[in-house]
Each structure stands twice: as C-alpha cells, then as structure tokens.
C-alpha cells in the first residue's frame, strides 16, 4: 500500500486486511487468457492450451473440443474463439456470455436446447442455464469478473 493511502494511526491488522482485499481484486481476473485461440487451431494442437495473464497455462480437454467441433462447420470452427468468457457482474443474478459473432449464439442455443437472444454482444444466462453450460464446457469456458455492472460498460 502506498504511503499516502495509509492512515497515520492505522493498526497493522487494518493494514493487512486492506492489503488482502487489494490482493483479492488483483487475482480475481488473473486467470484470464492473454489471447483467445480459434477452435480450428486448438484442434490441431497436441496439447491444446492458452497462456493466462498470471503466466499459467489453461489446458483444454480434447473431448470438449471435439464436442464443439461436432456442432460447427469449418468456417464456424475458425470463428469460435476459446475459452468462451462468462461475465459475472457484481450484485446481479444473471451472468452473460460475451459473444463476438453468431457462433457463440449457436453453441449456447444448442447446449441449452432453446433459442437465445444477444443484447449488447452478450447472451444473458440464469444460473441453472449456466450450470448446464459449465457441465458440458468445463475447460472451454472461463469466468470474467466485471468491476462494474454491465449496464455501465461500453459494448465490445
């Protein structure tokens, strides 16, 4: 913590708590990938993985990649970027799948077995739906914690 932010009579306990909270915010999105990879590229890799911001690697399961490839054609496989990001907004019950194209729509609709609507490049999901998606796409989806609510965020 910088000196100007410290309280003059702040106890070490308070300082530690504050530092712990700041650390919590820092690590929250550290697991996000530096760059997303196309499904078609991952299918050709021997060990399909992406490098995260914290330097670690996130391994994709081949079974899941093949499951996704089974429901998409070649062009769509090249357009689908993995991992698919699921945005969690503070204080909201729904979560959102960030989608850049129509492919994410198609994948979500097929897994949920119902039509989905995209609003501001996001597909809103309720928790039971999220559980269904996470059950079939464990490694190919990742959570993203938005610091502010999505209504205040600019569209991607």
């Amino acid at each position: 913590m910088s000196k100007d932010r410290q309280m003059p009579n702040e106890s070490p306990y308070q300082r530690m708590l504050q530092e712990c909270l700041r650390g919590e915010l820092r690590v929250l999105n550290a697991h996000l990938p530096c760059e997303q990879k196309a499904l078609s590229a991952l299918l050709t890799d021997e060990y399909p993985n992406v490098v995260c911001h914290d330097g670690s690697t996130h391994l994709f399961k081949r079974r899941e990649l093949e499951y996704l490839a089974g429901m998409l054609d070649t062009d769509e496989q090249a357009a689908l970027l993995l991992p698919i990001l699921i945005e969690a907004n503070p204080g909201q019950d729904e979560m959102a799948i960030i989608c850049r194209g129509k492919v994410e729509d198609k994948v979500t609709a097929k897994i949920l077995d119902m039509p989905v609507t995209t609003k501001q490049k996001r597909i809103m999901l309720y928790k039971p739906q999220l559980a269904l998606i996470r059950k079939s796409l464990k490694t190919t989806t990742q959570y993203l914690f938005a610091p502010k609510s999505s209504s205040t965020l600019a569209p991607l």
Partner: protein, 209 residues
Amino acid sequence: MPQLIKVRPTKIELIKLRRRLSLAIRIQKIVKDRLSILMLEFLQIARETAQARRGLLEEFSEAYKASSIAVGYQGYIALEKDLLASEQDLEITTGSRNVAGARVPSFELKGAEKATRGYSLADTSSCLDQTAQRAEKCLEDIVILAELQSSLELLGREINRTKRIVNALEYLIVPSLQATIKYLYMKFEERDREEKSRLKRVKVLLEQR
C-alpha cells in the same frame, strides 16, 4: 458494536475513510459473486463425483465378474501369460484449469480405446476381450474420479477462504468503517455547534460593552 478505527477527526481522514468504504463495498460484492460461483461449481462437482463413484463401483464389479469368467474359461496361468504380454504404459495428459480464481487439476487419459491389446485374438477367448474392455473403462473412470475428487477438495478449501473474507468484510470491516465515518460526522457537527455557541457568547459580550 463495531470497533472504531483510530483516526484524527479531520476532513481529509473522512475522505480517505469514505474511499476505503466504497472500495470495501465493491470488493464485498465481487467476492460474494465469486463465492456464489464457487458454490455452484462445488455442488455440480459434488454431484458428478457421487455419480462417477457409483459408476466406477459398478464398473469394478462388472470387470471383476468378467475376469472371473475369463479365469474360469482359460485358466489362471494362461490368462496371466496373456496379460503379461498386454502390459502397456498409461499416458495421462495433466494440466490445470481455473474455476473463478481457484486452480484445479485436469487429467485426460490418452489413447484409452486401443485397436490391439498385445495378446493374440486367435488364441484367446472373447471373455478376455470383454474383461480388457471393462478394465479400460475402469481406468478411464478412475482418472475422471481422481480429477473430480481433487477439484472438489480444492474448491472446498477456496470456498472456506472466500467465506472468511466475505464474513470479515460483512461483519468487521464495513461496519467499523461506517461507524467511524458516522463518528467523524458527529464530531464535525459537535464542532459546528460549539463554534455557533461561542460566536453567540462573543456577540452577547460585545453587546454588553
């Protein structure tokens, strides 16, 4: 009663405290969200673990039955000879995945389905083939269960840690910050009142002269 933080009763300190309070509330919301996601994942993995364990026990019993039949059909020594020939190394891809900030392992058995198993199909019975198939399925299930169980353990630990942070924020940090801010406001109001009464007193004294 929340504990007051020792601060100088100045406006600067009040601004700093208010900034800290807004940060704490923001973090509280995010950490609560993270906890709910972790709980969701934990429950799902717990259900899957129970299912996988049941499936594995069933597979084990089926494999044991099949191996008993194979032993009865071929004889123990002949079967052992065939099994020695079919011994192969296992290849498991290991890595990790991240579930809302919690790192959990990821295992995948490579080449689980083999075309040939190392023994002669002409010299052995179909019972042995069936036993081998069952055993391979058991291996796959063991790897899946290992992943699920270790994930469950790690997620449980992360949930405990996150819960402690949420409780500390909810019952300690935020109330003490709110109480200190309230105390500072009261102190400033008290100072204003003192100032007013002092001015009135001075005014009366001046009028008396």
